[in-house]
Amino acid sequence: MHSSLWLTVLVWLPLLGAAAALLARRRPGAPYAVAVATASVELALSLVVAVLYNDHLAGAHTFDFVGRWVLAAPFGLAYDVGIDGISLLLVVLTALVVLLALLGARERRSEAAFVGWLLMLTTFTMGSFVARDLLEFFIFFELTLVPSYFLVAHWGGAQRSRAALKFFVYTFAGSAFLFTGLLYLGFLHQHQAGGSLTFADAALASTSMSHATAVWLFVAFAIAFGVKSPIWPLHTWSPLAYAEAPTAGSMELSALLAKLGSYGLLRFAVGLLPLALTTVRPYMLTLAVIGIIYGSALAASTPDLKRLVAYSSLAQMGFVTLGIMTGSTIATTGAVLLMFNHGVITAGLFLLIGYIERRRGTATIADLRGMQGPAPVLAGLFTVVMLASIGLPGLSGFISEFLVLVGAFATHAWWAVVATIGVVLAAVYLLWAYQRVFHGQARDVDQIPDVTHRERWVIAPIVAIVVVLGVFPKPVLDRVTPTAHQFVESVTPAGVNK
């Protein structure tokens, strides 16, 4: 077993970096340098953790790097970390996206504050993914709101205040359900097991409860995670927030914070309340499928590129929910992989949209037209990332969507059939948008430079991941599958066909 110190450093290092960046704010350029250095170290550390991760530990299920400290016993507050195959990918994703956001979407206005919030957000996101305690997760989950709120409210577009407020209040209201639910679950456990209040996952999972209780708690959890994820019909904050956020903010929101929702749904709603599954599954699957079709339809009709990615995220997260709620090992593996892939791909798309905005000053599709001629490399990069998002075989999006759909077909064929239409629709809206943005004749061709060297290098890792995971996903699947299998075992009652 590896030391939990690794994770502790992963969680708190960005916060130290944020403090250092703020202290260095008087010197121009220094905060940015500190932030980039911190994020690079963070990414390196997360990769080391990913390589070291060992899922064959006795008695810890598939968790590694485990450590637990009780901080305030009366509150049941504990610092409890550890990662398994489900959180591992998201930890790497967190470190990757923040570095790319820093490198590719630099904001020069009040730079120290900008990088400070961004690094702080990394700490809280990282903390959520490594938390093995429901209350600890909730605290980190809530804390992510503060930096993301400020990122949107200060560096966003024209309607940034409204977008940030809507985002915050929606998520905060959703969290109310989660908070009440987790308190209820904690006390239920305390009354059964005696001892002091605890919110440790392993302890809560052993709570016995009536079927009705499990369903109510599941609904409460699902509302909170459904807002964040987003799951239709709780998604209405997301197009505005994604569109108004600065590029780095959109990347963080869609690539990471949305994953907090689906991760929470998988780890806590499904993981702690398996009893509710038989009842809620058809409803959740239906919502997921509606999200897929509805998100795709709106993505096709929206006039703004960022909103397009927002709606397409709604559809993609629908696939994730589909995989999570299907509950087979294949579908769960697919859902976890899709969380990672969607994170990488939307981060790439927002980055590229950021490049386009930088050149044309707008992300309105109708105003762009004809970028392919003057910027062929940009068009090529966009094509690769877009095709991955569509799910073209050979690129990373395919394998995860495939796993989800295969898993869903086996047990819930009709939902899978309808969801498959979403794959076709994705091709429609993305290719159509591509045509309108890159084909045709631009008005002011001379003013559109192609991507610079720096911009190419920033997007390169994303293209590399998209291609490599598309043809050779084995190392990643090897890390996810044991956990997914073990997880599905633990939430499926005996005698049910997996």
């Binding site: 305030a72 009366p74 509150f75 940030a164 407020l165 905060f172 009440t180 308190l183 006390f187």
Partner: protein, 490 residues
């Protein structure tokens, strides 16, 4: 006729004695000194008295450790962990508010020690309420607290709003006091005593066949308290009074009235009327829902920072009531914890509002805060943190305070109620955040930076430090609140 003097345990009433003593000494001093007394002397004496009351708490705590909780003066005064912590909160609020008021006096050119005398007297009233084990003593504390505050609210003689607010507060407050004492009389009629433990004993050992008198009395007591803590629908006075009162006074009263009134309310409901729980809990249920949700909703539409904070304070009252609703040791401890964390934060928040209000205490629109954090990063960040704490963001004490009361409510079977209260908090998040946006917005042309005098800075710093330090490390405060239980629980 001979008068029997009941035995007095002086340590139990030491904080009250110190605070009253401070007021009397200061009053005497103003009479003896030629001309007006210097503000710094008055401030010094007030701070000394507040520190004394706070330190007395340590001795009381040590006494509790050795001998356990006790009552004195014919069981009218109680010394238990709950009263010690609540008194300490009053003392801290007094000290912080005095620091803020000190600079306010300088700025407004007001001299004299009347403010300080009244502040100490009101604090003594509040402390008395936290220790009262008799409806009459509660009334005594309530009136000492209220009458002093009526004058303090009217303290800014240059502004008509101040006098108007005072009159409004006086009329409605007097009305509430009358309801309270009438309720006490009815409870006396129903149970034969005004002593909380005797009432509790009577209700525990007798079956009341016709409970009408008792219910009417209990209801009137509850209405009296609801007026004082500004629970919806008895909240109408509070926005006007908060807005009209001199800003340092607003912060002070927001803190100590809540501490005193809630401490007494908890004793009345939990100690005396604990057996009637099934009757009063549904009423409190409705009060909690109305107070959290309506308080937050009305705050959203305010344009004036002080009014907004008034409604925010109503919203907080709803959360504290939630702990009372739980009707358990955990619930009372949670309410106390909430008060202990809320009091320094609200005093510090109003300290910032005092500074921004500027000479004449005039600039209180939310727009006056535009770009404050850009011009003065420390002041802006401090207000931002205080607002986030009131919002209940993790890593601030506000989070644990909400956690504690919600946990108590859920534990007491109030899942739906906790959820409704939390949705109220989500509405409240809206206006706290809108305020922080304004703080960090672009600074308008010609905006000047606000002078931050040292004493006020100290008070703000203390409030921020409390909320951050115990926000990251809530253990000690939580343990303290857990041990600070009410003596008589049924």
């Amino acid at each position: 006729m001979s008068l029997t003097i009941p035995s007095i345990h002086y340590l139990a009433i030491l904080p009250v004695l110190i605070l009253f003593g401070g007021a009397v000494v200061l009053l005497g001093l103003t009479a003896l000194v030629r001309g007006a007394l210097r503000t710094s002397v008055a401030t010094g004496i007030t701070l000394l008295a507040a520190t004394g009351a706070f330190v007395a708490g340590f001795f009381q705590w040590a006494d509790l450790d050795r001998h356990g909780p006790s009552t004195t003066i014919a069981h009218a005064i109680v010394l238990d962990g709950f009263s010690v912590v609540a008194s300490a909160v009053v003392a801290v609020s007094l000290a912080l508010a005095t620091l803020v008021a000190h600079d306010w006096f300088r700025r407004e050119g007001v001299r004299g020690a009347e403010y300080h005398v009244l502040a100490m007297a009101t604090a003594a009233g509040a402390v008395l309420m936290t220790q009262a084990n008799d409806l009459i003593v509660i009334f005594l504390g309530l009136e000492t607290l209220s009458i002093g505050l009526y004058v303090l609210v009217a303290f800014d003689r240059h502004r008509g709003a101040s006098a108007e607010a005072s009159l409004k507060y006086f009329l409605l407050g007097g009305f509430a006091s009358a309801l309270f004492i009438y309720g006490a009389a009815l409870v006396y009629g129903a149970t034969g005593s005004t002593n909380l433990s005797t009432v509790s004993y009577f209700l525990g050992s007798n079956v009341i066949l016709r409970p009408g008198l008792l219910y009417a009395g209990g209801a009137l007591l509850l209405v009296g308290f609801a007026f004082k803590v500004a629970a919806v629908p008895f909240h109408q006075w509070s926005p006007d009074v908060y807005e009209g009162a001199p800003t340092p006074v607003t912060g002070y009263m927001a803190a100590i009235v809540k501490v005193g009134a809630f401490a007494a309310l908890i004793r009345v409901l939990i100690s005396a009327l604990g057996t009637q729980m099934t009757t009063w809990r549904p009423i409190l249920w409705a009060l909690v829902v109305l107070t959290t949700i309506i308080g937050a909703s009305l705050a959203v539409v305010q344009r004036n920072a002080k009014r907004m904070l008034a409604y925010s304070s109503i919203n907080h009252a709803g959360f504290i009531l939630l702990g009372v609703w739980a009707a358990s040791a955990r619930g009372s401890a949670a309410s106390l914890f909430y008060l202990a964390t809320y009091a320094p934060v609200v005093v510090a928040t109003f300290a910032v509002v005092t500074l921004v209000g500027g000479p004449g205490d005039e600039r209180h629109t939310v727009d006056s805060y535009r770009g404050l954090a850009r011009r003065q990063p420390w002041l802006g960040a401090a207000l931002g943190i205080l607002l986030l704490s009131q919002l209940g963001a993790p890593l601030t004490t506000g989070f644990y305070a909400k956690f504690a009361v919600l946990a108590a409510a859920v534990d007491g079977g109030g899942g739906p109620l906790a959820l409704l209260a939390l949705l109220g908090a989500a509405i409240a998040a809206f206006f706290y955040l809108r305020w922080t946006i304004v703080l960090y917005a672009e600074s308008p042309e010609g905006a000047t930076s606000i002078p931050v005098p040292r004493a006020t800075a100290l008070a703000i710093g203390a409030g921020v430090a409390v909320t951050l330090v115990f926000g990251v490390w809530p253990g000690p405060l939580a343990t303290l609140a857990q041990h600070a239980t009410v003596l008589f629980t049924s």
